[in-house]
Symmetry: C2
Subunit: 205 residues, 2 copies
Amino acid sequence: MTDRPIRVLLAEDQGMLRGALALLLGMEDDIEVVAQVGAGDTILDAALAHRPDVALLDIELPGKSGLDAAADLRARVPDCRVLILTTFGRPGYLRRAMEAGATGFLVKDGPVEELAAAIRRVLADETVVDPALATAALSAGPNPLTTRESDALKASADGATVADIATRLHLSESTVRNYLSSAIGKTGTRNRTEALREARRQGWL
Amino acid sequence: MTDRPIRVLLAEDQGMLRGALALLLGMEDDIEVVAQVGAGDTILDAALAHRPDVALLDIELPGKSGLDAAADLRARVPDCRVLILTTFGRPGYLRRAMEAGATGFLVKDGPVEELAAAIRRVLADETVVDPALATAALSAGPNPLTTRESDALKASADGATVADIATRLHLSESTVRNYLSSAIGKTGTRNRTEALREARRQGWL
DNA sequence: CGCGGCCCGTGACATTTGTCCTGCCGAACT
DNA sequence: AGTTCGGCAGGACAAATGTCACGGGCCGCG
């Protein structure tokens, strides 16, 4: 096996984890980390410049979500497989990752040893997903929130009042209250805060 | 330098980061990772069993906060230096870490290379803290919230209603509203959600 | 001792939030 | 052509939230 090494792009905002993973992956003799980025909106450029075989993407990233970046990669760098690496195994994240064309989905718990193995399997076009998480994602059903309901929920995250949200979204206060009320109903919760938590838990935001 | 290696205890809940750091630190020839734990309430036992020279502690841990664990260690394993490793450089965290007897305070941004260096410096009883963060912590002043105000804020975190909080804290609803109102005043915010965010940002919870 | 701080509680009040109903518009599908 | 769904908005109402003024008790400090 003296093939050319697997070229990996690493996108992760936490500097220490990014550095540690890069060092560890670099020590595998069949893996080479050709690019490291800490922001979502630099992923595509880095991939175009370095042509990786596998992109290892965190989801929560500054600038642009790893899921959105995954969709970009599928369109512009189709030879590059996408492996999502995320803190939370939210059902909605997994669903969206698959729709965005990801080949694998790993959570940041679980041993580091999994990582290199997953990279090799993904390169062979094997789908790598935790089975328990997969069934959870299936049974959870799709995101019931409309675009604007999600917007209103997101905008309410930092404790903004209805008036604040209305300004931010260029809407009337009545409309905002309607969206929030509807989101509360769909999540089966009692107020915005609970609705926001539940929507996040499901990976709907 | 063929001294006996520095014995390190590693407390971090995220499996992948914990594993990666353990491997990297283990590759330094003067460092040996003698224990790894993923929960705060197992730190003390592990330290008593393995007698590390340095304990590398995350703050947000299941079971018990790394800050509380630090205080335990100072009391029961006084030869062990404490080095806090945390995601967020909140002023209040740094202050509390120092009061709990920590010798160093690192954030998870910044390069991995810092880590081994910090461990060696901490062992030599050098205080290691990012200077910018240190001045921020000083200028921020101490935590103005009383115990009960903090309790009420924490209990409101998941979207609980006043009635819920009152039940959880064995208080009357009026009292809860007073505490929340007071916390909102002290944080200079407009509602609980903002107050909670601000209190967290300052590291007051 | 008086003073201040924290704890706990009540009642009244204004504001905000959440619900429900109504309506209009455009796009998509049948 | 009709129906459904999403976006947008207004009004009316009940409930939750936040504010304020006011009590009491306890403890520590000068």
